[in-house]
Subunit: 412 residues, 2 copies
């Protein structure tokens, strides 16, 4: 299905200068402050003018939060969602029956306020785990859903943040059947970011008419190559999900995997997901730089993925990157413990454009040139296994004093 | 085979007040400074008066260092080792043919100096990866092997350290067939410590007569419950190994798994390994405290181990412990992403003696009492899965500013 390689340059796709989750036709979004957090916006929403075809991917954590369970049930009901509400400040996770009741009550209130069926409401929560969700703020937030003064997509983007610093948004345009299709997205990330979904919420919107099953498969396959390839600290949370909504307002002929221009749609969709995923990694807790690990010439796609994830997750690689130290021994070590059959004598490692390991052995290199590469905001490590034809890319960030500061005093 | 539970109190075993790897009869050890490191001791040895029955466990990292490969070959030759030499300052890893030649040359020099066959020599290296091993210091070190003024076990213990702060040693005594048997041990750890062997070296000695196959199996099974259950930072190195030597100088009847007192030997052996493993975790890079995670009532031993390792490895749990923060949401999260079938509604979590989660949901607890537990040097987390009868314990440490400081400037 994934006919196009995500790492190839995008053809036919135009990136909007200031793209958002509301760039596709028929979507509005907004956010307000309800008191769940002290000062910052903490309650946001996305609304589609008509029920949108919906697909979701969810955390693999055994402890799934109440809002996530309810949203999954609602998406599965008719594969349609019209309104998404998101709160930060409280994850409504490990909150038992009380949490489930409040998730239901939230959906009920939203459905009433928007005049839609309850199963068309998706809810997402992020924040502290295990503390009962204060419900008054939620009630208050719902009252603003239809307020014309509160429909501002930037407020939505800010309302879903927790320890993130930057809002994450993107939109792309392309043509399908002569129709002008837009795909937009918003996300939050920061802590507990790791392959297999993390404290990460992603929302993808499009005004294209998309077949439900094809949308679902596109989301799953793309997530595996994007959101599931980022890590901040190796922790996967209880609340993570990515929702994709296609409201069909452009009236194109139904897009599915047999459509001649399916790959164009997929390219745009993937580009949006990849951009959001990278933004999350770059904005990891305490991060000073984005690290990209590209594994090439692996025997299988699984080996490529496992090696990329192993290196991007290594605390020792991450601290070396923080120190702008070309400590390739740590990269080699992380490749070695990825539990894959690696032939050490074939492995080549480059930091940026500089080869530092050849045939599994360190080679002399220009330390100063590599240092100049490592002090940049974007660092790329390339691992050439020279054992096959498969590749994978993972994204992460450095591990810094600020990560410790943020996480050794979270609750207090 | 493992008839005794390692967590049970030791019976019949006497812990020596100042026990070392040389407490068993017929072992000597020493260490010197050769220049591999700037100032500190960097070359050490253990020698047995007669060839000792030997067993080893080795890193699972695909990149195995030259000294490790050679030692494995030597142990496999006749299951006998008489002299172990260890250098710090350079791991002789990812050093290709040059590294292998130097490992061989080291063994050759040692064999000559000690007047023994080359296959009776084991060598171990720890330190920077990928830098050619300077050979002059090695030559210099070998010259001291027989120097009576340099036979000091504390010097050996210091010579094998890298970023460790404390030497790690222990010995226990017990009776077998009326003979006074001693088991001793020394280890180094600190960075790159993770289940499945780490930048960790362990040396266990005993004066008992032990069957070679039984020693090997005891070492493997014990390592799985001790050295493989510690983590500092999730990185497993290229050089890790544990060697066990039984020189038989006590002349007891051959100890094997059918011997009526085998379990007594095993208790002593396990106690030594467990003590060293815990010392390594406590002395992890930048650590301020030892964390013990005990998982009980798991469906299988694998589930218990996986959950224990998942929690002990979580950066978010480790930073919470550093901040003495009873953030049980992070513990629950780490349980949840252990890839095991967990029934969240049965999970109970305690911090020290205080229950903080019951049936997967947070319960009110005395924050002050838990805080007093968390500020101690030893913190115990108990996870009761209430799904079966299996248990496992893992040890680790907190993640601190000092870990970042140490590792963001290692090479420079």
């Amino acid at each position: 299905m994934m006919a196009t390689d995500i790492t190839q340059p995008i053809q036919k796709i135009h990136i909007l200068e200031d793209g958002h989750v509301t760039s596709p036709k028929g979507f509005t979004a907004g956010g307000v402050h309800t008191g769940l957090r002290k000062k910052t916006l903490d309650f946001g929403w996305i609304h589609s003018v008509v029920p949108a075809t919906a697909a979701g991917v969810y955390t693999l954590n055994s402890f799934q939060a109440a809002p996530l369970k309810l949203t999954k049930k609602h998406v599965d009901t008719a594969k349609k969602i019209q309104t998404i509400v998101v709160n930060s400040g409280n994850a409504n996770s490990c909150t038992g029956e009380d949490g489930m009741k409040k998730a239901h009550a939230t959906a009920e209130l939203v459905a009433k306020e928007k005049g839609i069926e309850e199963h068309l409401v998706a809810i997402a929560s992020t924040g502290i785990i295990g503390v009962p969700l204060p419900f008054e703020p939620i009630k208050k937030g719902v009252q603003y859903l239809n307020d014309p003064l509160c429909q501002n997509v930037s407020d939505f983007e800010r309302a879903i943040l927790t320890t993130d610093i930057e809002t994450k948004h993107i939109a792309v345009e392309f043509e399908i059947d002569g129709k002008h299709i837009t795909v937009g997205g918003a996300a939050k990330g920061s802590g507990m970011i790791h392959p297999n979904m993390a404290t990460m919420l992603g929302f993808i919107t499009t005004d294209a008419v998309v077949d439900s099953k094809s949308l679902e498969e596109a989301l799953k396959a793309t997530t595996d190559k994007t959101f599931n390839m980022i890590t901040v600290d190796g922790d996967s949370s209880t609340n993570d999900m990515v929702l994709a909504l296609a409201n069909g307002t452009q009236g194109n002929t139904l897009l599915n995997q047999d459509h001649p221009q399916w790959t164009v749609f997929l390219e745009g969709f993937q580009y949006v997901c990849k951009t959001l995923a990278k933004s999350i990694a770059r904005d990891g807790e305490g991060a000073t730089k984005l690290i990209e690990v590209e594994v090439i010439e692996a025997k299988t796609a699984e080996v490529a993925q496992a090696v990329a994830k192993s290196v991007i997750s290594s605390n020792l690689v991450k601290t070396a990157m923080y120190g702008s130290d070309a400590n390739w021994g740590r990269i080699i070590t992380a490749i070695g413990y990825s539990n894959q059959k690696i032939e050490p004598e074939h492995v080549k490692v480059s930091i940026g454009d500089t080869v530092v390991v050849e045939k599994g052995i360190g080679v002399p290199f220009d330390e100063e040139a590599v240092m100049l590469t490592l002090v940049k905001d974007d660092v790329k490590l390339i691992i050439d296994l020279q054992q096959g034809q498969h590749s994978a890319t993972a994204w992460g960030c450095d591990l810094t004093y600020d990560y410790i500061r943020i996480n050794s005093s979270y609750r207090t």
